[in-house]
């Protein structure tokens, strides 16, 4: 983590005009899909769930597709296991009645993506029963459907397309998989397509005497026999069987991926980029914002999650150096509580300044970016009350995060 340049750190009020307004976003009947994206662990799942609760309680029929909710959060939403079917989330308590219903006709459903099952369903839909059986039993399909780095992204998009088509929902909020990089999410479906359609696959799966080998020339012939020697003929046979069976469903896959991609570019879609205020995450968010613009994907704004705002009273004007000096001015052993409180405050101010510097740097590169900050809660967010708290922070109602 790098230090900040105090010269460039503005007071947070300066950029207030560009605030991301979550209520305006979820209230707009034109908003049909919200995609929460960002690097792993920044709070995408939490943000998606909080937006879902907020939207339902403000009257929209909402479904949230979560990918990897923390166990307690999943339980609190009634999601015990992977299941591709949206389940009603009882929104009893502070707002509205029980049984999946929110305020004024709104309701919340949630589901946890089962990528293997989604994949199986797509295969069954596109292949005749015999071929589908062959594909599902092939060892290459097994690895592809469970561990290809991109299957999860692809299947989340697939499920999104299906739910959108069903017409049952006013608003679909999508959580994205815990990718290494926020960009994986946009690239993965294409990568999967490119891979399945790739030269190597065709080459390896072609019988040695056919055109593919001859076209590729002698140098590649050596490769073919080497590959056979290394991995064994069984391997090549399984692969050939897989590719030829998969060929029939492949066109369907490409087409679906393209359709979903266009859906993401449509005006009813809003991307919400989530980041935490550290150098890596903010840099990643910046790339993502650029990438969305390049792909003409509609960006609603950026959530900076887990920030450390200053208190709202006179504490906002007490600087770090002064607080430390004041703590030091207390004789040892005297007033340990005040000493600790002042040291905590000094640390808080330093963290806040570093975060404000990161935010300012990002905004100087993306001047029209709308931003909202969500303060770090002292404890994890694992129930509806916690999600409502995050939701009101997203709507700009509560900035402190202190209990």
């Amino acid at each position: 983590m790098t230090g900040t340049d105090p010269g460039t750190a503005p007071r947070p009020e300066v950029s207030e005009a560009g605030r991301l307004d979550a209520d305006a976003l979820v209230d707009d009947p034109g908003t049909r899909i919200i995609v929460c994206c960002g690097a792993g662990g920044v709070g995408k799942t939490t943000t998606a769930a909080a937006l879902g609760v907020r939207a339902a309680e403000r009257g929209r029929r909402t479904v949230v597709i979560t990918v990897d909710p923390a166990r307690r959060l999943a339980q609190s939403m009634g999601l015990e296991e992977l299941d591709n079917t949206p389940r009603p989330v009882p929104l009893s308590g502070a707002n509205g009645a029980a049984g999946g219903s929110g305020g004024a006709g709104g309701s919340l459903h949630a589901m946890m993506l089962d990528m293997k099952r989604t994949f199986d369903e797509v295969v069954r839909e596109h292949a005749d029963p015999e071929r589908a059986r062959q594909i599902l039993a092939n060892p290459f399909y097994q690895t592809l459907s469970t561990s290809f780095s991109g299957t999860q992204e692809y299947m989340a998009m697939e499920r999104l397309g299906q739910l959108r088509q069903s017409g049952e929902w006013d608003l679909i909020v999508v959580d994205t998989p815990p990718s290494r990089s926020a960009l994986d999410f946009l690239d993965a479906p294409e990568r999967l397509g490119r891979f399945l359609d790739g030269k190597l696959i065709r080459f390896l799966s072609a019988p040695a005497s056919t055109g593919a080998f001859r076209l590729l020339g002698a140098g590649f012939n050596v490769v073919g026999s080497v590959v056979g020697r290394i991995v064994g003929t069984q391997f090549l046979n399984d692969l050939r069987a897989f590719v030829s069976a998969f060929d029939t469903v492949f066109g369907g896959f490409q087409e679906r991926a393209e359709r979903t991609y266009r859906l993401l570019q449509a005006p009813g879609t809003a991307f919400v980029v989530v980041a935490v205020p550290d150098t890596d995450s903010m840099r990643e968010a910046s790339y993502f914002v650029e990438r969305l613009a390049k792909d003409s994907m509609p960006l609603a704004g950026l959530v900076i999650n887990r920030t450390h705002p200053l208190p709202t009273g006179p504490g906002a004007r007490l600087g770090a150096a002064e607080a430390l000096a004041a703590a030091d001015s207390l004789a040892t052993g005297d007033h340990p509580l005040a000493g600790a409180a002042l040291r905590l405050h000094a640390e808080r101010v330093r963290v806040h300044e570093r975060e404000a510097g990161l935010r300012a740097r990002l905004l100087s590169a993306h001047r029209s970016l709308r931003v909202v900050e969500v303060a770090a809660r002292p404890e994890d967010v694992h129930d509806l009350a916690g999600l409502r708290g995050i939701g009101s922070a997203l709507a700009g109602e509560d900035a402190s995060g202190d209990p």
Partner: protein
């Protein structure tokens, strides 16, 4: 091999490291795997030996940590420890490992290049991830077996020569993928039932299953990393692999005593005393004129601190019950960099690593 008759291993840190030469460091993403793996390597090297730190995800995390330019696919001395010890770093990636493997066993660099052009690496890392993993774990286990004077790639060298590396530390994939990554044998079994890849996998697995290998988990005192640690430990012991330690990273001491913490968390902070303290402290700005209002601001922060600390203690209690010993690494202000590594390594040594 694991012995079901054997009782639980003595769970002190010494036992978690005794006899180990291959240290696999995993954990939830972002918890500090790379940092902890480097600190562990440096701590092990401070006995005076030569240690290899292997990075396997092609992300140049070690280079970033050490503030150096991207590292090549080559074992390179990067850190010096006390007593003449040294840490060498290998930034392994699947593509380079695949080409090396082809050259080593088949002497075919040209064909290897053709494979690269064809997207063979895409292939190895996608539809046959077992292939990628066995190449990467193979690199680490080869370094574990390598003996002084032995040929670098193929043989284990003269059987009685000392080992080339005293220890090998791997900055491994995160908990979500670690079981699959280490269980190369069964991964490859589904794809290649016979042939050289298969026997390579068997050799790799022999090292990974042995007492020479330990799997360490890096965690924070937070719910999700701790949950992943618990799941990972179950998975690894279910596979019959040997657990090492749990490295609890970024531990920050509380600023308050136990009674104050409990009171603050319960919302019963002694604000009158806080106000008295603020009056006694020399405050200059306008805040000094309204110590009550300032106290209310500070009390909110104190309460958040106390709640966070109690949560951490709860998580620590859960981690303690898992079995492996806990080793702690302090939260360093300004993040971990090359200079900070020495102090993290020292902390590990003080807690029994390398003894």
């Amino acid at each position: 091999m694991s012995d079901p008759e054997r009782g639980p291993r003595d769970s002190g840190p010494e036992a978690a490291f005794a006899g180990a030469r291959l240290h696999i460091v995993t954990g939830k993403g972002g918890t500090g795997k790379t940092t902890a793996a480097a600190a562990l390597a440096l701590s092990l090297a401070s006995r005076g030996g030569r240690v290899l730190l292997v990075e396997v995800e092609g992300r140049q995390g070690v280079a970033a940590l050490l503030g150096s330019a991207a590292l090549p696919y080559e074992e390179r001395e990067m850190l010096r420890a006390a007593n003449g010890g040294s840490v060498h770093v290998l930034a392994a990636d699947a593509e380079a490992a695949l080409l090396e493997y082809l050259e080593m066993f088949y002497g075919i660099r040209r064909a290897g290049q053709a494979l690269t052009r064809l997207g063979a690496v895409d292939f190895a890392t996608t539809v046959a991830p077992g292939l990628r993993d066995v190449l990467l774990t193979g690199k680490a286990t080869e370094a574990v077996r390598r003996r002084a004077g032995g040929r670098r790639h193929s043989s284990d060298g003269p059987g009685n020569a000392p080992f080339h590396y005293d220890s090998v530390v791997m900055d491994a994939p995160p908990t979500g993928r670690i079981g699959q990554f280490l269980n190369v044998n069964s991964e490859v079994a589904g794809l290649a039932r016979v042939g050289p890849v298969r026997s390579h996998a068997d050799r790799v697995m022999e090292v990974i299953r042995s007492e020479r290998t330990r799997v360490h988990f890096v965690t924070l005192l937070e719910e999700m990393p701790a949950q992943e640690t618990r799941d990972g430990i179950n998975e690894i012991s279910g596979l019959g692999l040997n657990l090492g330690a749990v490295l609890v990273n970024m531990v920050a001491p509380p600023l308050l005593g136990g009674a104050d913490l409990a009171a603050a968390a319960a919302g019963e902070l002694d604000t009158a005393e806080l106000v008295r303290g603020l009056k006694a402290a020399r405050l200059e700005t306008a805040s000094a004129e309204a110590p009550e209002a300032l106290a209310a601001d500070l009390a909110g922060q104190v309460r958040a601190h106390a709640l966070r600390h109690l949560l951490q203690e709860r998580v620590r209690g859960e981690l303690e019950g898992l079995g492996p010993p806990l080793l702690e690494l302090p939260l360093l202000e300004g993040g971990a960099d090359r200079a900070a590594l020495a102090s993290l390594a020292r902390r590990l040594s003080e807690q029994g690593v390398g003894r």
